[in-house]
Symmetry: D2
Subunit: 123 residues, 4 copies
């Protein structure tokens, strides 16, 4: 019985779906890491575009239509991020956890608390 219990991990499912999408369209030929990095930053730019003329307060109070639009652009950014990880053979969850370990050392709580300074600026 327990052998049938499988963790259905949402990011694994999404990655598999994206890969199928790409294969069905024979797009892997265009998906060099170089090209995908360009595509990802283009989508990140579309996220930035939503916020460029807003105040910070306005950006904290999106209405439903704005939330949907931002969700679309975030999603496109995420899909290309997943694809870069895929074609480079990087486990994104593992890499992110390792990077947070590093960031925790660069930004120890006692120095970082309440400060927006870069770690290179710490005394």
């Amino acid at each position: 019985m327990t052998s049938e219990l499988k963790s259905i991990d949402s990011i694994d499912q999404l990655r598999a779906r994206v890969n199928q999408f790409v294969e069905a369209r024979d797009w892997a030929q265009f998906h060099s890491p170089k090209n995908l990095a360009m595509a990802m930053i283009v989508e990140a730019g579309e996220v930035v575009e939503h916020f460029q003329w807003m105040t910070e307060d306005e950006s904290r109070q999106l209405d439903d239509a704005q939330k949907e639009q931002v969700g679309h652009e975030l999603s496109d950014t995420f899909v290309y991020l997943l694809r870069i990880a895929e074609v480079c053979g990087i486990d994104l969850i593992e890499a992110a956890n390792k990077k947070i370990d590093l960031n925790a050392k660069k930004y120890p709580v006692e120095k970082a608390k309440g400060s927006n300074a870069k770690y290179t600026e710490y005394e």
Copy 2:
């Protein structure tokens, strides 16, 4: 017994870890969607930097040191992407799946197969 069986979803775990990291440092005050969108594109730029002078072929053949570096920059991009979703109240997995549904309509297999044209360029 079964009540103890919980799906431990890796992206949920990561998001929770990132949120704790931010709270411990009292950084939520700086994390307006506007600021986070800026931070995300800065990190996306660091991904692009790795590939800017490589040929496409070179970008497909990263050595281990390069893979680690790219993994770091992808991770930073991912963390900010998770934070934007968090502070905007967007379910990233759900949003991504909806966006792929839309993309599947914009890029039907019969038109998109083997083509790098934008959907606006289809006849």
Copy 3:
């Protein structure tokens, strides 16, 4: 006498200097428009990095050290922008003037005055 009076146009001088810099290092081989567009956005990301955690007010009140840093990153962005124009055979000043003509039509004073709406949002 007057034949010796030549307009010494500052952007033409800068472009010539940049071209010499590139030629002396035999870098034209790397300067495809694709690669230069990547390099330009990487530098634009470094401009954004300076401002990501600042409030708008803080960004309006840079001290001399910050101004120098922003000047460095703006300059790198500008140099790559000049290079893209150069290798694509685009006259940047002429192109910019034409684009401003177009923008003036998209954003007529009577509709645009005091509004940060995108032209696609005008009624």
Copy 4:
């Protein structure tokens, strides 16, 4: 006589034209350096978008329609670059020349010739 001889510098003219455009629309209120840096990278992203799926060779052989499109996006990037310099009080031509002086030291011809390595990678 000589007092009438004025250098008509193309970038000064363009900057003046852009400033008038902004003033006529009462847009200076939105033009904090923070917001302008966001707007500039959004436009840089639109430059990147033109090239993301092209090979390097294709990017070197734009047809007239593509050149016009790239010219539009470069122009928008340039206009925001000029605005950032303007509102920060930075002389862009002077800053660019100083930065090239610095770059010449970081990338001496004998080390940089024919190499796409970053200066931090020099032995």
